[in-house]
């Protein structure tokens, strides 16, 4: 069975390795979140916002031309059609309702691609809450439109200038600011990372993805289970959502696409399962790209959302026990896959998502296999990167 244990571990991975200053915050969450999210009141508000604000259920779309090309029946789970353009908002809607019920007044968040930042700024505007988003200085440059979107929505965007100036550093900064503001502030983490209970909580909010896939596939194919589910993994929230209700259905293959950057052995990569070893980052024990001396290695990916040196503990566990199949997709291949999907299906995907598309070339499957690719986000935010890359 794949599930988190009482102490917050998935097998060997997880836990809450945090400074004592954060202990009360984490305890408050841990003690309250399950109870709060299981109330009818919470469920009603969450469901109604997912429906009317986010636009759920998102379609499960049979991609005919892509299917023809790859010789399988490929469905796209259209998270790109969520309000704000990616799956990230499923989690922020859940956490903002939770934060309100916990009596919090301010929200902080980290962001890489800016999608989680935008999704957080959006729900804060919706609920009238003050919002500060920490973002790596490098990411601020390469995700300009999202920075401006956050500002339009009324959020404050603060650059993280330490280290590699990307997602890892933004997360460090958000944790520091949570230490500085422990009482009235809730930290909305954007992926299935961080100290327990975050990984499981975020996965629960994202699990609506696989819940819908089951119903939709049943309608279209008369069966709830596809043969394969493919998703990209940065921290791993869209993948956790797409896998969640299939974790314990062994006949469904779970394929996770990581970012190989310029190549696994290039020194410029973010392929955590290929390059990582057991370590502790951002409060959980997980697979981590690090030096022999235990310093975290600065990752590289063309997609800001995958540019992270770790993965959520649940994915480390899936990898460890062989339940997940992990592939590492290089920058160039991801970009080409993005163009391919654009031309075949009229959908410009986020570059993160393009990694999952390219995975089709890296795995074996049978001719009539039903494959669901989680289309985690749309490519609007990435136009600059597409233009700079230029290969279209």
């Amino acid at each position: 069975m794949i599930r988190v244990d009482e102490k917050g571990f998935y097998g060997k991975f997880g836990g809450a390795y945090i400074p004592e200053m954060l202990h009360p915050n984490i305890e408050e969450l841990r003690e309250n979140y399950e109870q709060i999210i299981s109330t009818e009141e919470f469920k009603t508000e969450f469901q109604s916002l997912l429906k009317d604000f986010v636009g759920r259920p998102t379609p499960l779309y049979l991609a005919t031309r892509l299917s023809e090309k790859y010789g399988a029946k490929i469905y796209l789970k259209r998270e790109d059609l969520c309000h704000t353009g990616a799956h990230k908002v499923n989690n922020t809607v859940g956490q903002i309702i939770l934060a309100k019920k916990l009596g919090k007044k301010r929200i902080i968040a980290e962001t890489g691609a800016g999608q989680h930042g935008v999704a957080t700024a959006t729900v804060c505007a919706l609920m009238g809450m003050e919002c500060t988003v920490y973002m790596g200085a490098l990411d601020i440059q390469r995700q300009k439109p999202n920075v401006e979107r956050m500002k339009i929505l009324g959020a404050k965007v603060v650059p993280a200038t330490s280290g590699s100036q990307t997602l890892k550093d933004a997360t460090n900064e958000a944790m520091r600011q949570w230490i500085n503001n422990p009482v009235d502030t809730h930290y909305i983490i954007g992926s299935v990372v961080g100290p327990h209970p975050y990984p499981e909580m975020v996965a629960k909010f994202q699990s609506v993805i696989s819940e819908e896939i089951k119903t939709q596939l049943k309608e279209k194919e008369g069966r709830e289970n596809p043969d394969l589910v493919i998703a990209c993994v940065g921290g791993g929230s869209n993948a956790a959502g797409a896998f969640y209700h299939y974790y314990n259905v062994p006949e469904v293959r779970l394929i996770a696409a990581e970012a190989a950057g310029l190549g696994i052995s290039s020194g410029k990569s973010a392929a955590t399962t290929a390059l990582g070893t057991m370590g502790i980052l951002h409060g959980s024990k997980t697979l981590l790209m690090q030096t022999e001396d235990g310093q975290v290695v600065e990752p590289h990916s063309i997609s800001a959302g995958l540019d992270y040196p770790g993965i959520g503990p649940v994915h480390a566990h899936l990898f460890d026990i062989g339940r997940g199949e992990f592939v590492a997709v290089e920058d160039e291949d991801a970009m080409k896959a993005g163009i391919e999907l654009s031309r075949l299906e009229g959908i410009i995907p986020a570059i993160e998502t393009s990694h999952a598309i390219h995975a089709l070339n890296m795995i074996e499957y049978k001719k009539d296999d039903i494959i669901v690719i989680n289309l985690s986000g749309r490519g609007d935010k990435d136009l600059d990167t597409y233009i700079k890359w230029g290969g279209y």
Binding site: K7, G15, A16, Y17, I18, P19, E20, M21, H23, P24, N25, S162, G163, K168, N172, M175, R176, I179, N180, N181, P182, V183, T277, M278, G279, I280, L281, H282, G283, L288, Q290, E292, D293, G294, Q295, V296
Partner: protein, 257 residues
Amino acid sequence: MNRIHTLFQNKQKQVLSIYFTAGFPELEDTVPIMEAIEAAGADIIEIGVPYSDPIADGPTIQDSNMIALENGMSLKKLFSQLEGFREKVSLPVVLMGYLNPIIQYGMEDFCAKCQELGIDGLILPDLPMHQYLEEFKELFEQYGLSNTFLISPQTSEKRISEIDQHSNGFIYMVSSHSITGAKAGISDEQKAYFKRVQEMKLKNPRLIGFGISDAETFQTASSFSHGAIIGSAFIKIIKDSKDLKADINQYIQSVIK
């Protein structure tokens, strides 16, 4: 007997602990800085093991960590620098570091090496208490290392009591809701928290740290505890120092005068 215990047996007031990052400002400064701290009259030396992602630290210590790593500092390097340091330094010495570099080294090897070199205690800010109790307590005890936990203004009295029960050495009182870094002054709210903990009559001595920077903040903190810890302010002194020995002496003297 562990030097930390001996220290607190002999001195219950105005104990001054100085934190600095190993390998900063220059790689080979580690032991000379320790000697200078001892010569200047401080009571405890806290050596920071640099880490790429110090989430409890403000900009000053973040920078010293980065520079130390760029200088080539690592746990192995630190241990090689500390070889034989007990011939030069007699103060209690505590290593402070984030968990990841230590578990990569191997906790048992790490503890054994600490004992061999003459390290007295550890402060591992991201090692939670229950994990310590489950995995590491016996190792620490086996190798004669005292363990220090942090508490903050948010820590409940119940948890403070638990921490007191499982600490040996001293308790590190984080002075406010805050990451490390020198701030101006100590507020009434902070004093109320110091007092509240003082009145709990814990079995372990308490040192107050974070935001202690000069004689005034040191005296104020010490009036509610056994003493205080200075980190960021000390890092700032050594950062631009042209004469480490003299500057360290002058600074520490100005604090304990």
